[in-house]
């Protein structure tokens, strides 16, 4: 579904992505993990065309994304920190995105309903708490029919109930055959969701494996323990 070839991006002297090669297949739920500043968000933003890499190609569904934007019709994106025009209301934002995507029908309003967005439509974006902003981001990411979901720290800032609703939604999306790319620092949260793990460090790809494979290779019972096992062995 998404093929990344020799992707390189640096910000000044910092190499955010260093010759990264990846193949992300449809129907997988891929967890992107690694320490702060390892290049996760840069990788995601490169796929979305928000960050323009110096070198390398990203092939989305067989087509190079360079100078293309229509492929973004197939992507639902939830940013790490949603930034929205401050004096617009939630309702206006949702209407605007529907207008820009030119899609008023076949909308998935499940999160819209379960997060109770309808009651808050008149609230201005600058008056929202971090968690509510995240709810708006999640609602927008899942609203349009897409083949790929990119979720950057989706549960950060959400209350436990909302976070459970979102997790169920992610699992359901994967069952529908959607490629889900998710970053998180809470390894325990990924336990029941992720089917593959990508581990990055300082812009380098360290590993890309199936969860089952990872567990059996390291002899551990959970994702969290396997990753810690790998990190400890590396130091030693």
């Amino acid at each position: 579904m998404i093929e990344i070839k020799k992707l390189t991006k640096s910000f000044g002297k910092l190499k955010a992505l260093n010759n990264v090669n990846l193949n992300l297949a449809q129907g997988e739920c891929i967890a992107l993990i690694g320490p702060n500043g390892c290049g996760k968000t840069t990788l995601i933003k490169s796929i979305l065309g928000m960050v323009l890499p110096e070198n390398g190609d990203i092939i989305f569904n067989g087509k190079n994304i360079k100078n293309d934007n229509l492929y973004r019709n197939e992507i639902g994106y939830m940013p790490q920190i949603g930034r929205y025009p401050e004096n617009m209301t939630i309702g206006q934002i949702i209407n605007m995105i529907q207008g820009i995507r030119n899609q008023q029908r076949d909308l998935d309003v499940e999160l819209y309903n379960s997060f109770g967005i309808a009651k808050m439509l008149d609230k201005k974006m600058h008056a929202l708490s971090g968690g509510t902003t995240q709810k708006v981001s999640a609602t927008l990411a899942f609203m349009f029919p897409s083949k790929v979901l990119i979720l950057d720290e989706p549960t950060a800032g959400l209350d436990p109930i909302a976070s459970e609703i979102l997790k169920d939604k992610i699992i359901e999306a994967r069952k529908k055959g959607i490629l889900v790319l998710i970053t998180s620092h809470l390894l325990s949260e990924l336990e029941n969701i992720a089917s593959q793990i990508i581990f990055m460090e300082d812009g380098n790809l360290i590993l890309h494996k199936n969860v089952e494979e990872l567990k059996s290779d390291t002899g551990q019972s959970s994702i969290a323990k396997s990753i810690i096992h790998i990190l400890k062995n590396k130091v030693a």
């Binding site: 910000f11 933003k45 979305l48 065309g49 928000m50 960050v51 323009l52 934007n69 229509l70 492929y71 973004r72 019709n73 992507i75 994106y77 940013p79 930034r83 929205y84 025009p85 401050e86 004096n87 617009m88 934002i93 605007m96 995105i97 207008g99 820009i100 995507r101 030119n102």
Partner: protein
């Protein structure tokens, strides 16, 4: 692009600064023409005010607006919208609102009180001047990510075009008064859209007779139809070049 433009336009129209700017321009234009019996004198006073305020408001308001639209731009870029279209829609929206404010504020009184030809000239040139400084604002705000630096840069550019440039030309004039530098001064004036506008209007007002030999040279060059076409082409270039550079930079910007 129309779809993006719609949301930009709605947002700007709600903005109180644009409304205040329109009202202040209107108040000033009406009072100038009501106080003076002679419409030509009124135009001269109005010209001086327009040459200071229109560029200042256009460049400052636009720069601040673009920085405040950062979130809007980021939001749109993750959806299927071309970057070109986002930037052009913002530019069109800001330009249209600045031009509308100018035409409602200063254009209507001009049409009522001034000679029709001069009114049309001032409306066209003033609208172009608004758009020029919106374009320069786009360049300022793409050059640096830092809002304070960007606003500083746009104020500096305004100071340069509105005040310093005239000073420099005058300085040259006095230093080389003994030499025939009229043609050079004409060429120099093309480097500032504000001066181009001033020369165009002054020549139409027949006060150029009092500007001596230089005035005659100006009349010779800018007074003809070709001169008019030439100066409007220059003004159009002042819109196109800064905007196209900023568009190029925006297309390559990491968000």
């Amino acid at each position: 692009m129309i779809r993006v433009l719609k949301y930009v336009a709605i947002d700007i129209l709600k903005n109180k600064i644009v409304i205040a700017y329109t009202i202040i321009l209107a108040l000033f234009s009406w009072s100038v023409f009501s106080l003076e019996d002679n419409a030509a004198k009124g135009i001269l006073s109005l010209l001086n005010v327009i040459l200071l305020t229109v560029p200042l408001v256009s460049i400052l308001f636009s720069t601040i607006y673009i920085y405040n639209s950062n979130e809007f731009i980021e939001l749109l870029v993750s959806h299927p919208v071309k970057r070109n279209k986002i930037w052009t829609a913002l530019f069109t929206g800001l330009s249209l609102s600045m031009v509308a404010a100018y035409i409602i504020g200063a254009g209507i009184p001009l049409l009522i009180f001034a000679d029709f030809n001069i009114a049309i000239l001032m409306i066209t040139a003033g609208s172009l001047l608004s758009v020029i400084f919106v374009a320069v604002a786009f360049l300022c705000s793409i050059i640096t990510r830092d809002k304070a630096k960007g606003i500083g840069l746009s104020i500096m550019l305004w100071l340069y075009f509105a005040l310093l440039f005239d000073g420099l030309v005058l300085f040259l004039f006095f230093q080389f008064a003994d030499y025939p530098i009229e043609k050079i001064v004409v060429a120099l004036s093309a480097l500032s859209p504000i001066d181009l506008f001033r020369i165009l209007v002054l020549l139409k007002l027949d006060v150029s007779a009092m500007m001596g030999f230089t005035g005659a040279v100006f009349q010779d060059i800018f007074g003809s139809t070709w001169g008019l076409v030439f100066s409007f082409t220059l003004l159009a270039l002042w819109v196109a070049i800064p905007f196209l550079i900023s568009l190029r930079m925006f297309n390559r910007k990491d968000l």
